[in-house]
Symmetry: C2
Subunit: 225 residues, 2 copies
């Protein structure tokens, strides 16, 4: 039997559900490739259409604009990652061990997940590192937030925040520490590879360094209470 993993997406993010047609799946698959290759700024629906072999108008029938598509992709990633985290920390009782596991999952290179046919999680992970913040660093963040576009991200932060609280019920900043871990798992990776003097891992370029840093950051903050 072949299992399939489906992430439930916010309907306001698209005009037509890309999961429900070949063209839709092509849009997701090729947009991930193109954004990863050329960056979000250089990415246009025209180029995407040419890449797929369809027309610009065809893409617009699925997504209103490229911002919504980026939000869709990042939201998908956070939803997928939360599933991964729940799955992989499922039967771990000790919250400390669970938190370490989460940090490792956040900061590790992602391998392609066989359960999701048309999404390349490895590339998507890279996109979330390099372009993910642009999904919310906009003037419309308030409206987008009202439409629940960032729910998957906020849910993931809440999950991590709750594990932190389990480890240390009296810790005062579980949410901020959670968002710090998540953002830094990505930013330290970007810095390590692009602006290495901003990190202590520029020489080795090993993500194990990032994991150690985050572990020390988190556990020295919460342990002593």
């Amino acid at each position: 039997m072949k299992l399939q993993l489906q992430i439930k997406m916010n309907e306001a993010l698209f005009i037509r559900n890309p999961e429900q047609s070949d063209l839709g799946k092509n849009i997701i698959q090729h947009s991930i490739q193109l954004i990863d290759k050329n960056g979000f700024e250089a990415f246009t629906f025209k180029k995407l259409a040419e890449d797929i072999g369809t027309t610009e108008a065809g893409i617009y029938r699925y997504f209103e604009n490229k911002h919504k598509l980026l939000v869709y992709l990042t939201a998908w990633y956070w939803g997928w990652l939360e599933f991964q985290i729940n799955y992989q920390t499922n039967n771990i009782k000790d919250p400390t061990v669970r938190l370490k596991r989460v940090i490792k999952l956040l900061a590790s290179t992602v391998e392609d997940d066989e359960l999701t046919g048309y999404v390349n999680e490895g590339l998507l992970h890279q996109i979330v590192i390099s372009e993910g913040s642009k999904a919310y660093l906009t003037k419309q963040v308030g409206e987008d937030n009202k439409l629940q576009f960032f729910k998957p991200y906020k849910d993931l932060c809440a999950v991590v925040g709750n594990i932190i609280l389990e480890c240390s019920p009296k810790y005062k900043y579980p949410k901020s520490l959670a968002s710090t871990i998540i953002e830094m798992a990505h930013f330290q990776n970007f810095f390590m590879n692009n602006l290495p003097s901003l990190t202590d891992f520029g020489k080795t370029k090993e993500e194990t360094g990032i994991i150690s840093f985050l572990n020390e950051l988190v556990f020295s903050s919460i342990k002593k209470l």
Copy 2:
């Protein structure tokens, strides 16, 4: 006597030095206002030109494109902030006190600096919070870095990293901790005001909370060694 503060800027960032003419100063002043008001995505040289009362071509004589202008503005900010930090921690011997002072400066609302005529530091601080990451989250980050565009940012990180090392010479991640403090001083502020559930300060919206969080994060990481 009226003092004037000049930040030495990288010449590769502009075509003509905006500090050396009225039009140039107008470009800086009005671009800060416009980007703060409408966001970087909606900001165009045409709108800027109309705002100033000049023409598009006039702006292009100073800056190659809006990306360079954004990098210029953020670089200016980091240069100015490093000066502020050096100035305001000048005669503090205890590195712990100095580090606390730095964290406060990083996370506090900026008031307009009288020494810099045409730059509104308060607005510029907001721009750095909302748009600053876009200066380096691009495909050209490598080339831009080679041209030293991010030197002021990296210098500031180095300054903070060195204070961390002074506090705790054996701490293993001074650079990563420094970049984490700087990024989080801004991200927690953005989250607090726009995606409050990602922080523990969404109710009060007080930056004193962010300062306490960062202090605890930093000093629990480095103290125990």
